[in-house]
């Protein structure tokens, strides 16, 4: 069956266009979810897209977490539903405490829009299992507040529990450094580009796999992530397959 993927539309979302395109490219059905909606229209999984929800004048994601749709999404996630936050969506998920850590202003203090490479840390999650083999994936970043931050104990915990999903990397796949390395576009601690929750059903990343799904746009390396997500959603919908992956 075709998975129905809910794509949240906050006032100020703008990569919802990209997310809709990516979901269509992999043959699933995108469903717009308005921010004032208290229900989720029975979707199989949810993407929180990029953009500037409610303008983000105060701090990225800080207002969005209070929207009606986020209450519904919290319940959906608590019930094991799959949620993927991309860029602004990642920021919203950390503000809503559905994901650990915080996203600070880029260390360079400037917005950064460029092609980067990221490497999946794990290939056995609902967000990465269709990637195939561990290799650097090329896709764009475009953000002003993408520096992943958590205290050292939390970072140790995330690494120990296998919650680090992606790291920024060089072309050869070597992880980027924390500072002074153009391969790490925002100075994220331990070059972390994406994380998931302990239950393994909520994930967020700053780069844009949904914009890298067609070779004509420079890269289709994002397909593995989008496919993983959609396949996992479909599997959960049809078979009730347990999604959560445990720690390592």
């Amino acid at each position: 069956m075709t998975a129905r993927i809910g794509i949240v539309v906050f006032p100020g979302s703008n990569r919802d266009i990209d997310a809709v395109n990516a979901i269509e490219v992999v043959g699933a059905e995108p469903v717009a979810l308005w921010h004032e909606s208290a229900t989720l229209d029975g979707v199989d999984a949810i993407i929180l897209p990029g953009g500037f929800a409610y303008g983000d004048y105060l701090r990225a994601g800080v207002i969005a977490r209070f929207s009606p749709v986020m209450r519904a999404i919290s319940a959906f996630a608590a019930d094991g539903g799959l949620v993927l936050g991309i860029c602004n969506g990642f920021q919203v998920l950390t503000e809503a405490h559905l994901l650990p850590g915080a996203l600070l202003r880029n260390r360079g203090l400037r917005f950064v829009s460029r092609q980067i490479r990221l490497v999946p840390e794990r290939l056995d999650t609902p967000f990465t299992r269709a990637i195939g083999k561990r290799r650097p994936l090329r896709m764009p970043v475009a953000h002003g507040e993408g520096c992943f931050y958590a205290d050292a104990a939390t970072l140790d915990e995330l690494e120990r529990d296998g919650q680090v999903l992606f790291r920024y990397a060089h072309e050869d796949g070597a992880a980027a450094d924390e500072t002074g390395d153009p391969a790490n576009p925002n100075g994220s601690l331990r070059a972390i580009a994406g994380v998931m929750n302990a239950a393994g059903n909520v994930a967020g990343l700053m780069p844009h796999p949904e914009t890298a799904v067609e070779a004509i746009l420079g890269s289709d390396d994002g397909l593995g992530i989008i496919r993983s997500f959609v396949d996992s959603a479909a599997a959960r919908a049809t078979e009730g397959e347990p999604l959560a992956v445990g720690g390592r």
Binding site: G12, N14, R15, D56, V112, R114, A142, T211, I216
Partner: protein, 772 residues
């Protein structure tokens, strides 16, 4: 006759002069009001609408000479944006606007509101904005003021464009001392629409409602500076706030979605954005286009603050506002859409059949002016144009050039010159700037900023749009006709080398004070050049913007005809890029160098006064070059195609090399016959030349095709290796070196790594930015 001088006394300037209205213009206003004097409010409305910015009163007679008809043109000059059909029921809307003076005063907000304003021009017509290109021009990159302006403008463009979710896919960044006191910020937006949704800015149907939605109206951006200055002389008066508008990209994003939803659901009869001139401009333009009038109920206009004077409300340039003309029975639906997007909305007036813009407050009529008097029947001035004595008049197209001596070439090391050029502030990579702009949002960007033309695929089709921007101010300063012609030639050529066909031109003419005969002559010559070039190349002018009074205490800017071209590529799979592709491909030069180094980057680098003339252009040759390259692309003969422009052939080859293989680079070995002099052949910027590469088996067909188009064609060398090697061949080379007494070999050999480093770091170095 009296012999008595009037007694000296404090004479206050009459109001009209303080508002920037001349005595002659006041007479013309009386004519249009049936002989009566305007009241103060009416005068304020006229002063804004008859400003150069709104009325084009100096440039209108010139602009009428431009070719505007062309295949597929759905809307041309006079509308908010030009619209051209591209098939499949789709059309492209595009327009350019300047925000020079606001950016000079407050660079962040000036640039940000420039982006906001041009986006509104696009979605007003029913098109979703899909791309922004911005051309920025500043003075010396080492000066404190320039660095402040660059930082503010770049942040402003990014801060606004990134938030509204429209990718910035290209543009220009040019440094020239002439812009030190008067930077240029010219922003272009491109939109895509279903042709059936094309919406015009008209107010038809007496009895219909005028509805204002979006932000509320405040005192920010009150009209011309003259109004501001005249309002009061006390320091603490709120009306002394700067006349720069404040942008709110989040409100703009909501405005885009709400406007497109209103159009999609066919709820509006007409739609107009509020820009310069605010409510006065939007109501008078829409009424005049429909031959109607609008009665404005002043009290109904939602305000941002209490105590605003009627003139402030009517000419406020508060951002992110739209005027919709709707049928009365659709009000509830329109209100529901605006409510959903969280936008204030109010009925502020009614369409009438009397042709007047009437302003009422309660029962009182405050103003009544024929809509036409404010817009289509505004005053037009016949300005005087006089060429400056030290400049020749423009040559007839194709007139032969007199070869003159070039720059001193003694001791010139061509490799060192190439490195200096490609690392110079004007030719180095723009990456440090464009990385601050989201260039990929909306998932259409095939080629973003950095490597020539921007390319955007059109979802659901095989087609792509190609957009370029070029302006040649260096030549424009020497010969404004030629500067405009070269700008059009380069911008269209940059579309053609991708394989796309140029569809239309929009332009932003940045010139000086039109009441100065020399400045007006420059504008006159530029418009003549623009028309000549567009007619020759068969590309219509679908709109544009004229920015005058670009002068500061340091003098006028170099005349800058900013040309933007949008082209259509039918099969995006056939897109040809500028970079070399495969080792072993053969490199071919199409066209030939002609003498003249004036106006070139080489001349600027050498820092010496150049006595000779800039290279001219043969428009028939230019047409042939573009036809040739499009046909070659169509037939699949090309691996790459790059035009020769800033920095000349050597820089073009270096770019093809370092951009290759996803910026990893591919070298080349070149043997260049010297026809003029090493400097002219390597670094001259004569137009109508291309560097193309192709598989060896395609070379015979390519050469034949070039000859069929009457073009000189020369095999230069082969792609490969990790160095760019250019040997100079022929009598002009070795002999010249001996003659110069130069110990430098007549060859240039630079490792790609060195070229790349110079190119990558040049801009950050020039601006004093830390490399990132």
């Amino acid at each position: 006759m009296t012999m008595v001088e009037p007694a000296p006394r404090m004479v206050e300037e009459p109001l009209h002069r303080r508002l920037g209205v001349t005595d002659d213009e006041l007479d013309a206003i009386r004519d249009r009001l049936g002989g009566r004097d305007p009241n103060d409010l009416e005068l304020a409305m006229f002063s804004v609408m008859w400003s150069e910015h709104c009325s084009y009163k100096s440039s209108k007679p010139l602009l009428r000479t431009l070719p505007t008809a062309g295949q597929g043109v759905v809307a041309g000059p006079g509308e908010n944006a030009g619209v051209i059909s591209i098939g499949d029921g789709l059309a492209v809307a595009f327009k350019i606007e300047s925000h020079n003076h606001p950016s000079a005063v407050e660079p962040y907000q000036g640039a940000a509101t420039g982006v906001g304003g041009i986006l509104r021009d696009i979605f007003t017509m029913g098109a979703r904005p899909i791309a922004v290109l911005d051309a920025l021009r500043f003075g010396d990159p080492a000066s404190v003021r320039t660095r402040h302006l660059v930082d503010g403008v770049v942040h402003g463009v990014g801060g606004y464009g990134n938030c509204v979710g429209v990718p910035t896919v290209g543009g220009e960044l040019v440094f020239d001392p002439t812009y030190e006191g008067n930077p240029l910020v010219n922003v272009m937006a491109i939109g895509l629409l279903e042709e059936r949704l094309l919406t015009l800015a008209a107010a038809p149907g007496p009895g219909n409602l005028a509805v204002l939605f979006g932000s509320t109206t405040g005192r920010d951006g009150i009209g011309g500076a003259s109004v501001l200055a005249s309002a009061t002389f006390t320091d603490d008066d709120p009306s002394k706030r700067p006349s720069v508008q404040i942008g709110d990209p989040f409100a703009e994003k909501l405005l885009i979605e709400a406007s497109l939803e209103l159009i999609e659901r066919a709820l509006v009869e007409g739609l107009q954005d509020l820009g310069a001139g605010g409510i006065t401009c939007a109501t008078s333009e829409t009424a005049d286009r429909a031959g109607t009038g609008i009665r404005i109920d002043l009290d109904a206009i939602p305000r941002r603050e209490p105590g605003m004077e009627p003139f402030e409300v009517l000419i406020s340039e508060s951002q992110e506002r739209m005027l919709a003309v709707i049928r009365p029975d659709r009000w509830e639906q329109v209100r529901a859409v605006c409510d959903r997007w969280g936008l204030p909305v109010a009925i502020i007036g009614t369409v009438t059949d009397d042709g007047d813009i009437t302003v009422v407050e309660g029962d009182r009529e405050l103003a009544r002016i024929p809509a036409a008097a404010l817009t289509s029947d505004a005053i037009v001035h016949a300005r005087v144009a006089t060429p400056p004595p030290h400049l020749r008049s423009a040559p007839a197209p194709g007139a032969p050039e007199t070869p003159t001596g070039g720059l001193p070439e003694r001791g010139m090391d061509p490799g060192a010159v190439l490195l200096a050029l490609i690392g110079s502030a004007n030719l180095a990579s723009r990456r440090p700037v464009f990385e601050q702009y989201d260039s990929t949002v909306q998932a259409n960007t095939v080629a973003g900023p950095g490597h020539g033309a921007a390319v955007l695929r059109i979802k659901g089709t095989t087609k792509a749009l190609v957009a370029t921007t070029d302006a040649n101010q260096s030549v424009g300063a020497l010969d404004p006709w030629l500067g405009a012609v070269l700008s059009v030639a380069e911008a269209t050529r940059n579309v053609s080398i991708t394989g796309a066909r140029p569809l239309g031109v929009t332009n932003c003419l940045n010139y000086g004070d039109p009441t100065r005969p020399e400045a007006f002559w420059q504008l006159t010559e530029a418009v003549r050049g623009l028309g000549d070039a567009c007619r020759a190349l068969g590309v219509p002018v679908t709109g544009g913007n004229v920015s005058l009074y670009n002068e500061s205490s340091a003098g006028a800017i170099a005349p800058t005809p900013e040309i933007r071209v949008v082209g259509r590529l039918d099969d995006v799979a056939r897109l040809v890029g500028p970079a070399f592709v495969t080792e072993g491909d053969v490199i071919v030069l199409v066209g030939e160098a002609t003498p003249g180094l004036a106006g070139s980057q080489y001349a600027a680098l050498a820092g010496v006064a150049v006595e000779d003339r800039p290279p001219s252009i043969d428009l028939a040759r230019e047409v042939a070059v573009q036809a040739f390259v499009r046909e070659s692309a169509e037939r699949g003969l090309l691996a790459s195609a790059q035009d020769v422009s800033g920095g000349g052939l050597a820089v073009a080859l270096a770019e093809c090399a370092i951009w290759a293989d996803d910026d990893h680079g591919l070298g080349a070995r070149i043997r260049l016959p010297v026809a003029n002099s090493p400097a002219v052949d390597l670094f001259g910027e004569s137009p109508s030349r291309l560097v193309v590469s192709a598989r060896p088996r395609h070379i015979p067909a390519l050469v034949l095709l070039a000859r069929q188009h009457g073009l000189p064609v020369e095999e230069l060398g082969v792609v490969g290796g990790e160095r760019l090697v250019i040997e100079l061949a022929g009598a002009g080379a070795t002999g010249a070196a001996e003659e110069r007494g130069s110990r430098v070999a007549d060859a240039l050999e630079v490792p790609l790594a060195g070229l790349r480093h110079a190119w990558d770091t040049g801009l950050s170095r020039a601006l004093g930015w830390e490399a990132s």
